[in-house]
Amino acid sequence: MAPNPSPTSAFLRVEVATRSGLPDAHAKKLAAEIGRTLGHPVEVQLIRGYSVAFVGSPPGEEATAKLHAVLADPVLHQSQRLAADAPVPPPPAGWRRLDVVRRPGVMDPAAASVLRALEAVGFAPRSVRTYRAVLLRGAADEAQLQTVAQRCLANLLVEEVRLDPREAIAPFGELAPAPFRRVEVALRDADDATLVRLSKEGMLALDLAEMQAIQAHYRKEGRDPTDVELETLAQTWSEHCKHKTLTSAVELHGDGAPRRYENLLKETIFAATQQLNLPWCLSVFRDNAGVIEFDEQYAVTFKVETHNHPSALEPYGGAGTGLGGVLRDTLGTGLGAKPILSTDVFCVGPLDLEVEALPPGTLPPRRILQGIVAGVRDYGNRMGIPTANGAVFVHPDYRTNPLVFCGNVGLIPRDKIAKAAQKGDKVFVLGGRTGRDGIHGATFSSLSLDSSSSTVASGAVQIGNAIEEKKLLDAVLDARDRGWFTAITDCGAGGLSSAIGEMGEELGADVELSRVPLKYQGLTAGEIWISEAQERMVLAVKPEHAEELRARCKVHGVEATELGTFTGSGRLRLTFAGQPCADLSMEFLHHGLPKRTRRATVAPRAAAAATAGATEPLPRDLDCNRLLLQLLASPDITSKEEIVRQYDHEVLAGSAVKPMVGAGGFGPSDGCVIAPRLGSKKGFAVGCGMSPTTGAADPHAMALLSVDEAIRNVIAVGGRFDRLALLDNFAWPSVDDEATLGSIARCAEGCRDAALAYRTPFISGKDSLHNQTKTKDGVIRIPPTLLVSAIALLDDVTGAVTMDAKRADHHLLLVGETRAEFGGSRAHTLLGRAGGVVPRLDLPRAKALHEAVARALASRKVRSCHDLSEGGLAVAAAEMCLAGGLGAALHLGNVPRPAGLDDDATLLFSESAPRYLLEVAWDDLDAVTQLLSGVPHGVIGTLTERPVFTVSGLAPKPLLQIDVAKLTEAFRTGLDF
């Protein structure tokens, strides 16, 4: 049961509306959205409602003015006080009223602030519930009102809409505490069918082998497990927490001699890092984030997480809590790092897909993108952490299962990186209260979506409260600097069960669950233990500082509660009001998961290359002007300004290269550069790389291409190649079949090969499997997707370089060879062509190339630099021009290429890698060319004052000519969401 809507004390309502004649931007925007959905214009008015219960009776009429002063703006608003029993004010004739209220138990972040404001002026409120009322004129019939309610007003998972409401919305009352009931699950004598049923009914997501292992353990213990023990095992062993698919042994067959990995990622990606053994890698694949050296006093941490399934169901809450989660990863790294930069990458379906074209229960991609952008914006902006790097990819196979990657970089003193809870330390939970939020989030993310997901998983959706997390952040960093705790981790998937289970792995812990502060009563011990309520951290606090910690947290407005002790017993012992509800061996919890061996197959390399290569060249009569304009306006390339400007990308004042650069402030920067210590010029660059269109044909090549693009994006802004670290994020469909498992294995091998060749270590990573959706027409599987994120140091951010063309008469130098490689290219997508050679990387030569470009940039003789990726040379050069407001005259004759390649369109649009375009002044040309010796490069043209972009082909005749204004217009088309 969620909280009870019936009130326990008298209450009153205040409804606030904008005065007539004054603007209401919210209403205007909502009217536009509804108009778009219904296909005809409507009018909208908005009312904000507050339902407030008081200690004792509500304030008398004489206090009404004061009440209005708190809840309304005297300049903007008119407000109305309504008694508990007053009817809902009827809308004017011709209008309809729809009330939107949160469902019981859903986070209402504004309620706490309203309580505080009422207290500030002397009221004694008991509880507050906020709501919205929408007055609408222009819906044709009831069916249209239903459409509006479902598509424009509310997400029915977390809110309900009441049409023409009669009843006042009452504040939530209080529930009685749940009585404690110890439940034992009869497991010892269960047959296999029963084991499977128990797992399914309990949403445990444990397979038969795992249930059998648990059964065997309890037979040995001579008892049955309690429900809480079983839940704890399910959470800890979940795919989300344990990554058991990729930590199982894999045997790879199909391309030469079979090979076996006892632990796939550990023996590929992590092994490469170990083999490189670079002294500036301070903590890798161990903590919540990877840690590398920054300067003498500080290190930087980096982690990227996914939050896909919740974002499919409730994009706003899903993306917000996704970002909130990765921020807590930063805060839970070492003894707490300070988050200083966020990144976001979204993969969604085509934005013009309407709900009718989608399987039932699926939100249209446009609405998903709106929701996730708003979620990241509101959470990130409120936290005051700049979101300054990202990407958007559009592909039909993300339509039912979008991907939301949220990353964060943190700054941590180097003497705060090590942590270890000590015997006798107190188990503390800090931050938000615990409710029924996100129960089974960890196990839910380990299952595939289907059309029933949107109903069964409503409990898995969390809504974040950024201000709660901001307070938590401030309190934790304060306590860290005072040395009061010995270890910290975040409450993420699995809630307290995972956090305390992990921290106490070596020691064991005793925990009293009835001490956990609750949002509302009525939670069982098991629910408290696995709730994924957001904005909580678990700390191991030195007993002598427990009191001080509590007091200091109070200053920050943060609750700090002692739950128990790290004991040294090696057991996880849980009690509720003193009654035992679990007593688990940490050894079994963390090492009892049965190890499996899985067989995987990969296509023979030669065969893959042969099938991939069988495509005709681009048509000879291709209209290059038209293709370039189409490319610039296409979803993966077009300006993301609409998104970037909604993010506070400059807060904390570290911004040295922004996500958008150039004369007009809309040039797409390759990466961002941050100087995080105010006053110091030391900085770092962050960028990302992705090539989801090549993964199906060649997962190994996809890995190399993604790593290479991420590296180019940070080198291009001035990052050091020899202080460059990587992160991997695998987002895959289910890998239950041998071929798909083989594809992820080949991709992991690609990451390893690139990392070793470039000497750029992976320092952290995360995988998300089961990204697929069952529909009545079959399973929709996402394209295998690898996101690689890169971070590289800059000794001096005033040496950073941006991609906008700087001055007429400067030369453009193309570095790197262009080959006929169109596999997965944007040109092929737009022209509707399949196949093509996936770009091949020669790793040793590519390494030399990156080194040479980094050297050239370090000489400060390169005026601008841009990476060539989607859309190839034509797009990169056009972007430099439009960003700088200059024209260019290019001649393809000097483009470095293999002998025999004589096709202009290939030189313009092929996506070979690695390549960079450099702007160099005439005087510096010799010096820069010298630095590039040994690496293919050629001067391919000059920048011009006249704002026209022209290209002449190999046969020296005009091939392409477009005004830069037209390029700009195409590029700034933007995403329609």
């Binding site: 931007a25 500030a120 909604q646």
Partner: protein
């Protein structure tokens, strides 16, 4: 007064520009202390030890109800008198972005009829109805404010969703102009008055970006001078070179010098 004035930077839950605001004040010669709201509200008289007060940007208490409302109410109820005393004895104060919204909600700016407690303008949703982070140009249109010099321009990022300034009525609007309380107005790229979006990022009445109080010692503004404080903050420094004294630094230097 003091050679190294003391500056109090007050932060509430959700304040997030406190470190860079303190850094700016320190770099200009002040000695800055960041203090959470609770101890300040409990003992607002500690302001007597300071010459400067800064309310930085952020989302105080989530900007629930209205931007700046909750913290504005608390400050008005418990620290209003102390802030008025601070400027009466020659101190100065600044509210940036959310800090400006807070000073407006507590009625300290513009404070036409009474020093505080009666809001006369509001800062509400941008016309484009969304948060916008973009650089804007402003002109100093009054010589009333110690933080600014009339005629100068200020280039700085605006980063807010609720920055559209609306006076309560025509009388308030007229008085603001007549008394020189309108100290900053958004201008176009070539200095044009009353420019359209995006040069005026929010649709503020008369393109008002900043106000001062009756003493000229309190400044409230929506854009962030502390984010144009270091030369590499400028969005086109890689084109135009690194400035010696960025615009935002000039503003903080004036404010600190005014209480020295």
């Amino acid at each position: 007064m003091a050679a190294r004035p003391r500056a109090l930077v007050v932060r509430s839950a959700g304040t997030n520009c406190d470190a860079e605001t303190a850094f700016a004040l320190e770099s200009c010669g002040a000695q800055a202390t960041i203090l959470p709201a609770e101890p300040f509200l409990e003992r607002p008289e500690l302001l007597a030890d300071y010459q400067l007060l800064a309310i930085p940007g952020g989302f105080s208490y989530g900007d629930d109800i209205l931007a700046g409302k909750v913290f504005g109410l608390e400050l008005a109820a418990r620290a209003g008198e102390q802030i008025v005393k601070l400027v009466q004895r020659g101190g100065a104060a600044i509210g940036i972005c959310n800090g400006f919204q807070i000073l407006v909600q507590m009625g300290l700016l513009p404070g036409l009829e009474q020093p505080f407690g009666k809001p006369e303008v509001t800062l509400t949703d941008n016309d484009v109805h969304k948060y916008q982070d973009r650089w804007v140009r402003m002109r100093v249109t009054s010589d009333r404010c110690v933080w600014l010099a009339k005629g100068e321009t200020l280039f700085a990022p605006a980063a807010h969703g609720e920055g559209k300034l609306i006076p309560r009525d025509e009388a308030v609007r007229r008085t603001l102009h007549e008394q020189g309380r309108v100290v900053l107005r958004y201008i176009g790229p070539n200095g044009e008055d009353d420019p359209p979006f995006p040069h005026c990022p929010n649709g503020a009445v008369d393109s008002i970006a900043g106000l001062t109080d009756r003493t000229g010692r309190i400044l409230g503004l929506m854009p962030h001078p502390e984010r144009h404080f270091l030369p590499w903050h400028h969005p086109t420094w890689t084109r135009d070179g690194l400035a010696e004294v960025p615009d935002g630094r000039k503003l903080f230097e004036r404010g600190v010098n005014a209480v020295r």
